[in-house]
Each structure stands twice: as structure tokens, then as C-alpha cells.
Subunit: 316 residues, 4 copies
């Protein structure tokens, strides 16, 4: 496994990381399968395990927390997040001081650890003043509940504001942003987020690098019954267009020539950018994480990158 | 129940909230009655329960703390306060660092919780320098004893000074003021406190929105034997004037037309101002809290507000 | 008992307070006598009990800590101090961060309390930079080991430097100085310390207001065998001059006319200055503390003060 | 034993101190021997015991921690360090917030103490921004894990940057640097580090004052089988030159005349500089520490210093 710094900061994360999103505790109900997936990832060098309170409403954290007890804590980079509603309660959501502090406390309990490495504000919350968010995150870092804090899917301007507010007031700034990024969802990161991250030294760890599975080839022949697109039609609507299907089939040729699967190609492509520290993958079966691990350390040759670019632009 | 933000801050409180003042542990000695009142409030969507060390000299906190154990902590917005003498001891009062820290510690123990959401300075204390007050409140927030701190019945200039001092020194500013406000006690809030609160983004939660019961119609026929005015003649003196009696009788007509009780009308009227986050009601009987809950979410129509204005100004 | 604010700050101390210096655990070896003295003081309204690590090398704190368990903690203003060597060890003394933090931790254990109200730097330590002293004291206040910190016998310029350094760096400033002050030892306080204390709002609590007993009349007939001057000849040398003996005899006339003992006169005289918050007295016998308590609340008339002034200046 | 202040700061360290480097737990496997060495040192007045996580991969800390339980904690100045890899793990090294906090926590556990006196950044880490390092060290001091923090073998410019960054942001600055320094390894300290240390008031505690044993005379006749140069050929290569051998033989004459061993001469020579607070010695046998202790308090006469200077410059 190859490791990258989180932007300018000292923390190092594996190029390929494992996210508990959607899958753990939700789709994958068999704890032994989860255990196997996590063990394969860990033994393959994955150190970054990405969690959130909201994944399976806490159950994903419970399971991850239980399984990760096997490994020395300092070899893990654990994250969790807060923002999405955990219940109907008006304060059980968002980025208020109340919810951030209550949420991290509960996440740590579920994860069975004294601290996470990164605590993410899962989205920006326009209802809460920036000073409340940054002071709460500062408190969380100072209390030792998290070593670093980050943002996820925040507008670039709000990240800039958070960093500036932290600097002005001697508070811990965010050190990482977690945006969605893949061959089929590029613009926001490339135009807006990457320049911002470079300016402030933020690391980027990206979610859905496989476009919800679209880039793996799983949907070449339509939507299998037990697939993610079958469960979440809104994802199919976004990604499963005729145009995308054609692109994904063309990408197969590039992958084949390089001796990679399309999954590996898509992950290695995301990691071509030095500003991206890690691609967060999911897995519902052991084979999937094994396949993803094959993308670590792969540096795509220049001509392959050019051919991919042409395919993605519809020029090939 | 409708919820409102506490000024510009992220905390959300129910429009109707329940205060332990005077009643719990003092008038209402039967714990089962208190339990029923609290449960009705909670099930009706009340999340803000307002306490103080001084209510029944700690007993109100004890009872509230015991009853609230039934509900998940994060669904509650608990407050308490310090300032009023708890004993003859010269340091057992006021806003010194000593008293604030000793008081919150004892309140948390009585309330059986690790933190309150809001810790109020129950009055301003001119004997203590602003820096001592704000630093002590900052310490209390940093230690996690309170998530936010606020003021109650502070002069606008002192609130402004506290906010400015906090900003200059990187300390937690007060986020909420708790003034008295009702149809029969308006001037201070409307002229002085509301503009100040808007300027600094403070929330307002108001006490005695029913003018000690005067606005409910309870005193239409004089002072019943077991009523609050019978127990506290100073309240009767302030509110039970002939002029007020006439106003309250006229308000009944408006309430009747809207299908509201006078209690509900008085609460909805307080909540007509978006700058007011919550009306703190008391209850000695289950029916009272049920009645108050009926005021939540009621938006008084423009013409009713105009008629009420005329009545209160003695022009109708 | 009358109470006074500690300078501009919110803490209130009894005009007459009890110090453990020299006496407890050292001269007074009988714990029941100490218990009786402390109880008389407490019941007479004394709330300020002044301690130091070095008094009887920790034993005074042990005894005081044990006896004070009887009283509610919030009714007590406890102090302790650090600076003087507790052993031959080169770090077991002075105002280094190491010694201050290690010393307060050990004092709290001996005093059997979670915090003292005031932690005094017992002398200034020119070997330690001001930033180290003030940051360490700040840490001690922030950790909650002490509510306030103060100085004892510091040069006015060093107090000023400490306050200024604290202000510049957002740290807790000292709030009280403890100098020696009595009818026979006046200059330093009146010329140097009082103006400084007023400028910065510091309280003053004074030690040896009876000039080591000289002002009580105990040495009218020479040095009794079991007296303090017998035990500490250096004190006798400083105070037991022929000139002082004459003054003390003349003061008896003033005291007699006012119906006071000379002890009470000397204490009331110290407290004539509003800038002095408390006179710290010692006691080896119950009668002594009873006598001292008689000085609380006494306001010496103008003409008595003038006669005393003349006596002290050798003009009467 | 003579003690010196750590630069301008309040902490005092013994001129001769004991380092666990290389020896404890690594070469010296017999715990009773280590215990004897430590006891001789302690009884000879050594108070500074220098440790690091990496010495024998934690075992040196374990042993030192166990043995030092015998002595009152406040009489010890304990240090430890972090930077060097403790495993293959990418985060188990360097000066990231993650590693510094995880490392100190584990060191405290091994040392069986609540705090170290000094926590050293064992080398500078160019991969971590200065703000991350200084904030993490500040957190460690504020949490009470360490009383002071320092650097080891940092470039002067990086020390200056750390001090300046700390000052600008109100954080704890480093108070001590630990460089290598001996008669045979002088330039860096004398040209670069001493002026820097004086400018910022940093203390210097130096390692390898005997040039890995070269200055003791142990290698006069070549490399003994069980010697350090036999185990670490790279040290032999650096120090065991023909030129150095000649110098070391000439130094014997100076030592003999002064009634010192060459070990003592080399240590006293290091301590001729008032800017150096302590010479950290190692010992694998009780005789060695006894010999080193003989250098404490020795002030080399001016003419001896001149002769040594000539020898070291190859002019004698």
C-alpha cells in the first residue's frame, strides 16, 4: 500500500481506504462478512476507515468499532461525521455546538475508542454561524475527541471562511475536505475544490470514486436485482445514462490493455491527482475490497490518461 | 410543536417551554403531578426546560433532574441559573468566579446530568467585574458544564459589554437573554432588549408571558384563595389593577373569536415576534400545560394583532 | 462578621481571617485545640483560612484539611502557597512551572479538597521568567486547582509586570497580594503596595497585623518563656525595641478608652483602610481567636485614629 | 552535585545526567545492574533521566519507569522523546499531531508516571507544518502530559521558527534543545546552536559528550570485542580516526595533571560553557556512572582549557 499525506498536514492515509457508507450494517448484515472485508483491507495496508453516525443509524459504527478492536489503535485512521438527522428531534442534526458535541460523544462510544482521527462536518449548515461551528470543532479537538477536523461537501467559500475564521481566532482549522469525485462526477472538485484545498493545504479524500458502482461495469447489462441501483433508483437516474454506459464500455479497453479491471482503473485515475490523498471505497463482498486494493500504487501512464480524458469528454 | 433557533445560534427551542419557577417543589409538592406535567409537555414537543438553583432552593432541580432521566438527554434543552443567594453566606450568591463554578457544579449534581445546554447569569452583578464574569462563563463552557451561556434581566448595555469583552478576548459570548415579557409588561423588551438582541444575534426566551397568571382570566372575579396572587401579594399589586382587569376582559372577546383561550392568545401574542424564541410557561396542573401547548404554531392574524394593540393601549 | 470584596473582584473574605502560619502543627500540637480554634473562628464568621505548603512542612495543611471537612466547602475561602523550599531538592522550591504544578497538587491532597480559592506565589522568584510563572498560574486556574491566584510580598513592579503580562496574553492575572502590615511595619504597604493594588484592582490580605504579637501587650514585661519571641529571637530583635514598647503602652490608653483590647485596636486599625480586605490572625489558644473576632466590624473614630497616628510617629 | 537552570527557565537539572540511550534494555539486559546504575546516579545527585520511546523500542522506558518508582516523583526530571519510527506503520513516526499525542500517551504508560518534565521532538520533521507540531506540543503541555517541551538536533532556524510561532499564537514555546556535543563534535553547537539558545533563553542538554566513548580512552588500543564501536561500526568510522586517537592520548596528560580521568575531563570541558545545562551520560556498568559523577562541580582552570583547545585544534 502507498500512503499519502493529508494535504500539508502530518497525517498519512492509505491511497485506498474503506468506507462504511450504505453497506455496513445496512446491506451487509452478516458481521462475519464485514469482519473479513475489514481484515482484508487492513492486511492489504488500508489504514483509513471512514465512518459516519448516520450510516445505518449508528449500526455501522457499532460494527466497525467492534471489529477494529483487533488492531492497534495507532495503526488506524478513524473518521466519523455529524450533520444528517439521526432522529426527528430538531437538535439531533446539523452543526450546532449541541449536536456536534453530543454526536461525537455517542460516536466514540459506538466506535469503542477514545478519539477519532478526523471528525467531519458532513455537510455545511447555513443555519449555524461559522463561529459556532469552528469553536465547537476546536473544543472537540482540544478535548481530544478528535485529532483533526474536516468538512464534507462544503462549498469552497465556506471552507475558506472556516479556515480564515480559525486562523484569526487561534482555533484549529479544518485540515481535510471529503467531496464526491469520480470519472463521471468531476467538475466541482476540479474547478472549485482542488484549487481551494491547495491554497489552504487541505487534504482531499473522495467518496464514490466508482460513481456508485457505475464505473465497475456492474451495470453493463442493465440493473441486477440485488444491486445498489436497484435499491436506490435515484443513483441509477443520475449515473446510468446511455452516454455513461458507452463511456464505461470504452474504458474497459483501456483497463484491459493495462491489465487492470475497470474498478482499478477508476480508482487509479482518481489518485492521478497528487492533491487527492485517498479514494474511499465500499465493499459488500471480500472480492470487491481485494480488487480495489489492486489500484493502490498504480501510476497510470500519460497516454492512458489522455485516452481516458478523450473518452470522458465524449471525444473517443 | 414548532421550534425556533436561539437567535442566530444553532440551538433550537420549542416555542412553548416549561419553567420550574415557583411551582415545582414549592407549590406542587406531589412529585407524580410534576411528572405528569413534564410528560405532557415533553410528549407535546416541549424540549426546553428552564431551571434555576434558587427555585425551591434546589428542590426544583432535584425533581426535574429525576423526572427527565426518562428522556434521551440530547432531546432536551436544559438550562439553569445562578445569582440569587442560596444561603446567608456572602459568597453563596452573585456572579463571582467562585459562586458560578460552585453553583453550576451543584446544579449539575441535582439535575443528574453532565451538562446543561444553557447556564444563565440570573441577574447582572455590579459588584463583579465583567472580565471575572465572562472568564468564569467561558471556563464553564470550555469545561463542558454548559454548552452555551446567557443572561437574564441584564441591562442592554451590560449585554453589549459582555459580548464585546468576549469577542475582544476570544471567549464564549452570551447567546441568549431571558427577560420578562407579556402583554402587560412590554416596554423594556420592545424598546431596549429586542434591538440589542438583534444586533448581537442573541436569542430571547421570555418569562412570565402570562403576567403571573393575570392574562389567563384567573383573576376576573378577584383573587381565589389558592392562587399565586394570594400567595404573592406583590404580584397582585403590580398586575391586578382595574385598568388591567378591563383589558383582560376585552382580550377574551378576541380570544373567543379565534377559538383560543386567553392563555393561548397571550402566548401566541408573545411569539408574534420572530426575535423571541420561546415563551416559558409554568404549570401546577396538567390542564395548564395542555392549554399552553395549544398556543404553539399559532400565527395570530394581522387584524387580531391590531385589535389587541388597541386594547393594550387603552384605545379599545 | 463583616465581609469585604477582594479588591475589585467578586470574592468576599471576612475582615478577620485565620492563618495556619507558625502555629498549627508546629506550636499547637494538640489537634483538639486546633479544632476548637477553627470552630470558634468559623462560627464567628471567619471564612478565609490561609495556608501554605511550608507551614510545619505540610502538617498545617493536613490538620486544617481534616478539620475543615466539617464545613460546606463553598462557605470557605481556602488559600495555600508555594515558593519556599520543602526539601533540599533543587526543584522543590521557587516558582518554576514544575514546582507550582507539583506543589498545588500535593497541597490539594493534604487539604483534602479539589481546589483552593486562592493560590499564592509566596515570594517573587527572580530566577524564573515572568512568562513561566504567569502561564503556570494560568494553567492552575484553568485546570480548576485554584479559582484565583495571588502574590505575597512581591515588589510592586513585579506585580505590575505580572498583571500586564497576563493582560497582554489573555491569561488570568493575580487578584490579590499578601503583604506584611501592622502599626509597626507600615511603609511598604502604604507607600508602594496600596497604590499599586488600587491601580490594578487587587485585594490586599495582610499578615502579621499584630507585629508578631508585639502589639498585643504580651511583651510589656519582657519575653515570657513560651512566647513567640522566645522561640524566634529574630522577631524580638525586629519588634521589641524600647521605642516600640513605649508606643505599645501608650496604645493601651487609646484601646481602654474605646473598650477594646490592644489586639482588637491593632486589627481594627489595619482594617481602617478600605483597600485592605482582611487581617490574617493566628491563634494558639481559643481565647486569642475570640479576642481577634472582636475587631471585626469596628470602625475606629477619627480622633482615635489621629491619636494613634501621633503615637506611632513618636509625637505623643 | 551541582544543578543548573535550563536556560532562562525555572527547571533545574543536574550537571551530569543519565540517558537510557542504547544501553538500557538493549545492551544492559540485567535489570539489577540497571537498578544499581540508576541508584548510584540518583544518590549522587543526578535528577535528570533522559529517555525516548525508541530506546530498545520502549523497553528502556519500561525499565526506567519501574526503577524510578522508588524515588519521589518531584525529585526527578524525566524526559522522553518522539520522532523515530516505532514500527513500519506510516503514522507511527514523525511529528504529526497523531503521532505526538499517541506516543506521549504510550510513553507515560511505560514510564508509569502521569507526566514527563520534558517531551522532546527527537528530530525536526520537514513533512509536518510548524503549526501542527507546535499546536500538538502545546496541547501536550496543556493536558499536563509534559511540563515543558523541547527539540533535539533541530536546525537553528527551525528552533527560531518554533519559538516565534509559539509567541505569535500564545502557545508554549520549546524551552530546551538536545544536541550532540563533545570535544570531537563541536562546530554545530558552538557556531549555530549556542547563539540561538542564548537569544531565546533555551537550555541545552547535550548527548554523547564522550563521543560514543572515544574520549574515555577505551579505544586507545583498538576496538574491544564487547565495546560500542564493535557493535556500531558507523560510530567507529566517525570517531576512531588516527588524528582523534592522538588527541585523546594527549588529553590524558591534561587529565592526569588535574587528577581527573579523561571521561571526567571531557564532561567538565562540555560543562565549561554556562549555556550548557547538563551532559547526558550513559552507563553499562556501575563504575561508569561513578566515574562520570566525578565531573560534576569541576571547574577546569583557564590554562587547562587553553591546552585542551590547542590539542583539539591539532596545535599541541
Amino acid at each position: 500500500m502507498r500512503y499519502r499525506k493529508l494535504g500539508k498536514w502530518g497525517l498519512k492515509v492509505s491511497e485506498i481506504s474503506l468506507g462504511a457508507w450504505v453497506t455496513f450494517g445496512d446491506v451487509v448484515k452478516d458481521k462475519e462478512t464485514v469482519r473479513e472485508i475489514v481484515r482484508i483491507a487492513y492486511e492489504g495496508g488500508v489504514n483509513f476507515f471512514d465512518n459516519a453516525d448516520v450510516y445505518a443509524k449508528g449500526l455501522a459504527e457499532e460494527i466497525m468499532g467492534e471489529i477494529l478492536q483487533e488492531f492497534p489503535r495507532h495503526t488506524l485512521v478513524l473518521s466519523t461525521k455529524a450533520y444528517w438527522p439521526m432522529s426527528e428531534d430538531p437538535n439531533d442534526r446539523g452543526l450546532s455546538r449541541k449536536h456536534l458535541l453530543e454526536s461525537i460523544t455517542k460516536s466514540l462510544k459506538r466506535l469503542k475508542t477514545d478519539y477519532v482521527d478526523i471528525f467531519f462536518a458532513h455537510r455545511f449548515d447555513p443555519e449555524v454561524p461559522m463561529e459556532e461551528i469552528v469553536y465547537a470543532m476546536h473544543t472537540i479537538v482540544e478535548k481530544g475527541y478528535a485529532l483533526y477536523w474536516g468538512t464534507s461537501e462544503w462549498p469552497a467559500a465556506r471552507i475558506a471562511e472556516a479556515v480564515a475564521f480559525a486562523r484569526e481566532n487561534g482555533l484549529h482549522p479544518p485540515v481535510v475536505e471529503q467531496p464526491q469525485y469520480s470519472m463521471l462526477y468531476r467538475e466541482r472538485v476540479e474547478n472549485e475544490i482542488l484549487p481551494e484545498a491547495e491554497r489552504f493545504g487541505l487534504g482531499l479524500v473522495v467518496w464514490s470514486p466508482l460513481a456508485m458502482g457505475m464505473l465497475t461495469g456492474r451495470y453493463d447489462q442493465g440493473i441486477p436485482e440485488d444491486s445498489r441501483f436497484a435499491r436506490y433508483p435515484q443513483f441509477a437516474e443520475r449515473f446510468l445514462t446511455e452516454e455513461n454506459r458507452k463511456k464505461v464500455l470504452k474504458l474497459k479497453e483501456v483497463a484491459d490493455e493495462l491489465g487492470l479491471t475497470r474498478t482499478q482503473l477508476a480508482l487509479a485515475w482518481v489518485l492521478r491527482l497528487p492533491g487527492i490523498s485517498s479514494a474511499i471505497t465500499g465493499a459488500t463482498r471480500p472480492e470487491q475490497i481485494r480488487e480495489s486494493l489492486g489500484a493502490a500504487g498504480v501510476d497510470l501512464p500519460k497516454d492512458a490518461l489522455e485516452r481516458i480524458e478523450a473518452i470522458l469528454k465524449g471525444e473517443a
